[in-house]
C-alpha cells in the first residue's frame, strides 16, 4: 500500500520546528498524499511560523497564510477562484486542484471555529486538516478547546486546588459530522498509511472534508524528542485517540488495537499529566472505557 505514495517530498526538510515535531510529519504526509496539484491555506501557529521565516520556505506547493482564525475562509476564496477561473477562462482544464487548509487546534476549535463551520456548511470542495497538539503551542502551551481533561497547560495549570484542564476535550469530528459534510476522519501521525489514505480520499471526494490528526508535541507535552511516533501510537492503543472515518454518514473504525493498553501507560510518558493522582488516572480510565465502548473500539 505504502508504495503507492510518491517518494517526492513536497514538504522540504530544513524547517524550524522543534526536534521531533509532529506537525512537520502531518504536513509532510498530507502533501505526499495530496500531490503537486494542491494549494494550501495555513492558519497562524507553529506550522506556519516554523515553515516560512522569510525568505525561506518549506513548502513546494503554493501556500498562503493570512491570519489565525481564517484559514477556512481563505481556502473558501481560493476554491471559489479556482472554480471561477476554470469556468470563465479555461484555466486548470481537466485538472483537479486540491485546496487544503491547515489549522492548529486553537485556530480550528476555538478562534477559527466560525470560519470553519461556515466553509463546511457552504460545501466548498476543500480538505481541512486540524493538526491537534492539544494546546496553543506558538504562544507557549496555553489551553484550547481541544486540550484534554486534566492536562496541565500554562492557562490551565495544575495547582494545589485545580487539577489542570477542568473541561473535556471538544469533540470536533462529531461537530463537523453534524454539518452533514461528505467526509470526516481522525488520524494519527503514527499510522501514516491510514492518514495518507484518508487525505487521498478527502481530496478525491467532491465537497468539504475534515480530518483531525493527533500530533504529539515534544514541547507542550513534555517528552524526549525521539518519542513522537511512539506517543502517537500509545494514544491510539490506549483508546484515547480512536481512528475512524465518517463517509457520507457511515461511521467506520479504521484501526482497532488488538488489545487496548491502560491509559496510565500513555499518561506517564508526559509531563503535562505528571500531577495526576492514582484516583485521577482511574477516573480518566473509566471515561476512556466508556467512550471506547460507545465507539466500538
Amino acid at each position: 500500500m505504502a508504495r503507492q505514495f510518491p517518494r517526492e517530498e513536497l514538504f522540504a526538510p530544513g524547517h524550524r520546528g522543534c526536534a521531533g515535531c509532529g506537525a512537520a510529519i502531518v504536513a509532510r504526509l498530507a502533501l505526499k498524499a495530496a500531490g503537486k496539484n494542491t494549494i494550501v491555506a495555513n492558519a497562524t501557529g507553529c506550522l506556519e511560523v516554523m515553515t516560512t521565516p522569510y525568505p525561506e520556505t518549506a513548502w513546494r506547493v503554493p501556500w498562503m497564510h493570512v491570519a489565525f482564525e481564517n484559514a477556512a475562509a481563505v481556502a473558501s476564496g481560493i476554491e471559489a477562484a479556482v472554480k471561477s477561473l476554470k469556468r470563465k477562462r479555461g484555466l486548470y482544464e481537466g485538472e483537479k486542484v486540491n485546496v487544503i487548509a491547515f489549522g492548529g487546534d486553537g485556530g480550528t476549535a476555538d478562534i477559527g471555529f466560525q470560519a470553519l463551520s461556515g466553509a463546511m456548511e457552504r460545501g466548498h470542495d476543500m480538505v481541512y486538516i486540524m493538526y491537534d497538539n492539544e494546546a496553543y503551542m506558538n504562544t507557549g502551551v496555553q489551553r484550547s478547546g481541544s486540550t484534554p481533561f486534566m492536562a496541565s497547560t500554562t492557562t490551565s495549570p495544575a495547582g494545589s486546588v485545580i487539577r489542570g484542564e477542568n473541561r473535556p476535550k471538544k469533540n470536533m469530528p462529531m461537530i463537523m459530522a453534524a454539518h452533514g459534510i461528505p467526509y470526516v476522519a481522525t488520524a494519527s501521525i503514527s499510522y501514516p498509511e491510514d492518514f495518507m489514505n484518508k487525505v487521498k480520499k478527502a481530496c478525491e471526494i467532491d465537497g468539504p472534508a475534515f480530518i483531525q490528526i493527533l500530533q504529539p508535541c515534544t514541547t507542550g507535552w513534555g517528552y524526549p524528542a525521539s518519542k513522537t511516533v511512539e506517543l502517537g501510537r500509545l494514544a491510539v492503543k490506549a483508546g484515547i485517540w480512536p481512528l475512524y472515518e465518517i463517509e457520507n454518514g457511515e461511521y467506520r473504525v479504521t484501526y482497532k488495537p488488538s488489545k487496548r493498553i491502560s491509559i496510565e501507560e500513555y499518561l506517564k510518558t508526559q509531563k503535562r499529566y505528571r500531577h495526576l493522582t492514582e484516583e485521577d488516572v482511574e477516573e480518566m480510565q473509566q471515561l476512556i472505557d466508556h467512550k471506547c465502548q460507545e465507539m466500538g473500539i
Binding site: T52, A73, A75, A81, L91, A119
Partner: protein, 386 residues
Amino acid sequence: MQNVKVITGTSAAAEAAKLADVDVIAAYPITPQTTSVEKLADFVANGELNAEYIKVESEHSAISACVGASATGARTFTATSSQGLALMHEILFAAAGMRMPIVMMNANRALSAPINIWNDQQDSISQRDTGWIQLYAENNQETLDLIIQAFKIAENENVLLPIMVNLDGFILTHTVEPVEIPEKEKVLNFVGQYEPKHAYLRPEKPMTQGALGDPEWYMETRYDVQQAQDNALKVIEEVHDKFAEKFGRAYGNGLIETYNTEKAETVLITMGSLCGTIKDVIDELKAEGKEYGLLKIISYRPLPTEQIKEALKGTKNIAILDKDISLGLNKGALFTDVAPFLEAKTANYIVGLGGRDIKKAHIKEIIEHVEKEAKDTETKWIGLKE
C-alpha cells in the same frame, strides 16, 4: 444611445462590479450596504454575471475569502459598512500587505455605541492606516465611475493595492439618482482583463505568500506599501483622465476637485456627499455676489498633499469639515492630515455624526465663523445640542 437608470448608490456599486465582470464576490449583509450584495446575488442568479458568489458567515470571512480569491488570480469584489468594516480590520492590513487588488464598496455609517445605522465616516476613517486606497464618492454616478476606475487602479502593476470606495450611507445608498450605465464592452475594454503577473497560488509555479517577516524584513514591506501609495497618486490621475476621455465624465483631476476656489478667500474642505450641499450653498452665495470655494477630497489615501497645497495657494480661511472624530484629541482626521501643511488659518468643524442632518444653514454658519471668529486650529462641533 445613453442608458440612464434611476438607481440608488448601492445599485450603482453593484452595476459597476458587474460591468467590471468580477470573478468572485464574497458578501455579508449590513445596513445600509445590504442592497448592493442583494443586487449582485440577483445578477448571478439570473446569469447576468458569471461569478462565484460566496455567501460567507461574517465580514471577517468575506474579506478573508477575497484575499484567498485575489491571490488565486480572480478579480474580487466585496461590500460592507461600519461594524462589518471594523470586523474586517485585521484582514485589511493583510490584504494591503500582501498586495491584493481587491475592490470594496463601503457604505459609510457610524460605529457603536450607541448603535446607529446612519451616516458618518468614522468607519472608513478608522481604517486609514491599513494600507488601503480610500476614495470617496459625492453621488451615485461618481460611485459607479469610481468603482470602475478602482479596478484599473488597484490592478496596476505599480500599485497592486486594495481599494475602498466609500459612499455615504442612506444619503447615497438609499437615494435614487439618474446614473448613466456605460456599455459592458466599453468598460471591459477600459478596465482590461485581470492577468496578474504576480499570481502566486498556481500549482505549476509554487510560491509562498504571507510568510513570517522578522525584523530583518518587515520594515521594507511596509515601505513597499508606502511606495505603492505614492505611485497610486499618479495612477489615479492617469486612470481618471483616460476614463474622462472615454466616458465623458471628469472629477477634478481624479484626486481632488475644486469648485470656485480661484476667486475665493474662504474655502471649505471635505469629502463625500456633503460636497453636493456645499456646492449648492456656494452657488447661492455667488448669486449674492459672494465668492466661496470648495476643495473636495476624492482620494483620501493616498492623500494628494501637493495638489491640495497648490490648489489653496493664497486662500485666507480654510474650514475643514469632518464626519469623524479622533476622541481625546478633539479633531477630525481630515483636519489633522491636511492642516499642518496649509498656510492659511484653518479651523475644524465636526459635523453630521451618526446621521445628524447637515443643513445649508449649517454650512453658512461655518463659512461665517471661519471668516470672522475662528481661531487657527480651533475645533467646533456643529449642530450639537446644548
